[in-house]
Symmetry: C2
Subunit: 447 residues, 2 copies
């Protein structure tokens, strides 16, 4: 409670605005959009700027791992206890908003500042992480940093992925690690080279909702129970190209007309389910030869289908198969099941909101987050702050400072409670069996 | 009848295959496709090659006008009589077939060869024209040569139109005229500089159908009564971009879903009319931002609607307006009424087929042709040869030589009849009042 009360809106806002200046499309204007893709010079500068505040402060150290994930560690009384992790990412879409990812990192650091201001020490260490390449817009797919952390074998898969300029993910990570260690040496940071897959006591991530639900219901905090499953399909409908003026209906095989009928049947089916949790989007549509007076010989469109329950998506897929015209093909581009968060951690989030008298509700996450790979690795949950108009991945992305503060307070409440948990859990046991990664003289913070 | 009987399949085929070699994508293979856009070096060579055969032959001369339309003139007994015109175009789509346009020009020249072989002289001159830029793929729109001929004011509108390399239509026409006059001087051609809008006794154009109707009905020749009207629309449907995963149905304004419903309603309406003459094509479809997991904020698609009767298209347009979602806009890109051909000339075409015992029927043209602007200028009609599978604007475009010969015979029959018509018509009267354009020593062919 003391930690939550010590969360300071001005300090949080100052840190968020400072972070938004790295990659700002219009300097000084948080609503001009932010261009700060993963491991670009702008993103590395932003990471350094955030780390600098804590890297020389007594009781703190900073680390980096092989996937260039950066950790800012607030030491605990027990150096051997598995840490509680929070954070998010500071990379953005090519032109994104100022809060997506940034809020979760800034909120974690604000909790550190609040704990320091309240003079609180915790049993366990707490770390705020900046995961690498969450967005997936420079290197595809996204979530590379958090996926590599929880499953180091993934890094071997990602390492040769190149950006549009031919720079590989491995090269960019190594450059970032070199940049970071040079900065650390020059400025005398307390730093450590962090292994992947270090055991964690828990992970809890604050993030903006990126949807309209909290705002529409007048809520301050969403306690996220799961990340909704998603299936991506590409449907390809063949036809036969012919002259629009000379070809009677009976002689036509019009790919566009068939694709429109198919898409219409699918959207009608979706509407008929009358299920508010079902999300059905046809985002891409390409026709060939794309000429006004030529009948299309091919149409390809994509389907993004989401629902927390697999049988609902199975039924949708069966319907799609049933109405598919002859010769058409369905390609599965992605098939991710719903990821449920830890029941105990979600209950802790609810308790935080109750004891802080915050208007809150359980909700699903419709978007992916770094918490998705973490959920399979340690007890995990998320806290959402409302997004005005549900807008995200856009310069207009915004949340009022009161709502951001409320979410950061709930996060502080949860982190303080988790870090005071002295019971040795599975992570502590795992940790006891692995080599210490803390530099010995950092295990007890100096003052 | 003698002219028609003298039409020779081998000679026709040889000329067509020779013509196909200019711009052939696979030399020696007429089914590799032909790349011979308007006024390109390949098209100018093709024009020269066709002109060379007749330019020094007694009784012939060749001309070019300001729009670079080329005329091969077979002189008549009466140099003052308005000529009968046939022909088509030798430009192609970026990769077109070997017969579109080429057949009409080759058929006209084959009639000349047949008349010569039969030792026939005609009262009126007959000319075979190669119209400039019919396809409209190098300079948009198409029909520039024939439209400039029938309405010279149009040339002033077209002159500054540039191709993808920035070359204007005027520059390309002037270069072609210079190329042509140089060739004429070097080879000693009998040639003339032809004015636009010279009075014509009649225009009759042979062309491949570019549709499947004649083949499906087992016919040899189509007597074209009209070119079907066409309306082109661009429909723009607005929406609001949002995340596919985080935005519930109630909060969505999905441009793609609205556009699919609209297009479906329109196509369903079209099918419900059960009118074989109605042609409805949605050829282009562009969505924005065209991302799998983002709700579209704009969709634009095109409609190509054709029917011989304007009220049918009016009703379709009214239906489109009625189902248009709020905020959506309809832009009329083209609105061309049906162009009816001359009743007398169509009857002459029927008589030709009857007397030559060719399987024929009246039909509409679904595509545009140079005969469209000509129809407002002088008595005009067209003869169609079947297209195998209805395929055109594609390397697979093909018609058997028997069908091509049948159509060329009907053309010969019509041209011979028209050129023997000694009655002074309106065109002769108009011609009598305008300055002669023939060089005096060409008015009576030398042998």
């Amino acid at each position: 409670m003391r930690a939550a009360q010590a969360v300071d809106p001005d300090r949080l806002q100052t840190r968020l605005r400072g972070l938004a200046s790295f990659g700002a499309a219009r300097p000084g204007d948080i609503h001009g959009g932010v261009a700060r893709q993963a491991l670009t010079p702008q993103e590395l500068l932003a990471r350094r700027w955030l780390a600098t505040e804590f890297a020389c402060r007594p009781g703190y150290s900073v680390g980096i791992d092989a996937a260039a994930n950066v950790y800012i560690r607030r030491h605990g009384e027990n150096a051997n206890a598995a840490p509680v992790l929070t954070g998010s990412h500071v990379d953005t879409q090519p032109l994104g908003g100022w809060l997506d990812g940034a809020f979760g990192v800034a909120a974690g650091l604000e909790v550190f500042a609040a704990l320091d201001a309240a003079g609180l020490r915790t049993h366990r260490p707490i770390e705020t992480v900046m995961w690498t390449n969450e967005e997936g817009s420079r290197f595809a797919p996204g979530l590379m940093g958090s996926a590599s952390y929880t499953d180091p074998a993934r890094l071997a898969i990602f390492r040769d992925t190149a950006d549009a300029q031919g720079v590989t993910f491995l090269q960019a990570c190594n450059d970032a690690r070199e940049d970071f260690s040079m900065a650390a040496r020059e400025a005398g940071w307390r730093w450590f080279d962090a292994p992947l897959a270090r055991p964690l006591h828990a992970y809890i991530e604050a993030h903006i909702e990126q949807g309209p639900i909290l705002e529409a219901r007048g809520l301050q905090v969403g306690c996220v129970t799961a990340i909704q499953g998603v299936r991506w399909y590409r449907v390809t409908v063949p036809g036969r190209s012919a002259h629009a003026g000379t070809t009677p209906d009976a002689a036509r095989d019009d790919a566009q007309a068939k694709a429109i009928a198919l898409a219409h049947a699918l959207l009608e089916y979706g509407r008929a389910q009358d299920d508010a949790a079902l999300r059905l989007t046809i985002g891409r549509w390409h026709c060939r030869p794309d000429s006004i007076n030529t009948i299309a010989d091919q149409v390809a469109f994509t389907i993004d289908a989401r629902h927390p329950e697999a049988p609902v998506l199975d039924a949708l897929e069966a319907r799609l198969q049933a109405v598919l015209p002859a010769g058409a093909a369905i390609e599965v581009l992605q098939h991710k099941p719903t990821v449920a968060f830890d029941l105990g951690l979600v209950e802790l989030a609810r308790q935080a909101c109750q004891s802080l008298a915050l208007r809150h509700a359980d909700m699903l996450s419709g978007a992916f987050h770094d918490a998705m790979p973490l959920a399979g690795f340690c007890p995990t949950a998320m806290l959402f702050a409302p997004s005005i108009g549900g807008v995200s991945h856009h310069p207009d992305e915004h949340t009022g400072i009161d709502d951001l503060t409320a979410c950061a307070r709930a996060l502080a409440w949860c982190l303080a409670a988790l870090a005071q948990d002295g019971n040795a859990g599975a992570a502590d046991a795992a940790r006891a069996g692995s080599p210490a990664f803390d530099h010995p003289d950092l295990s007890t913070p100096t003052r």
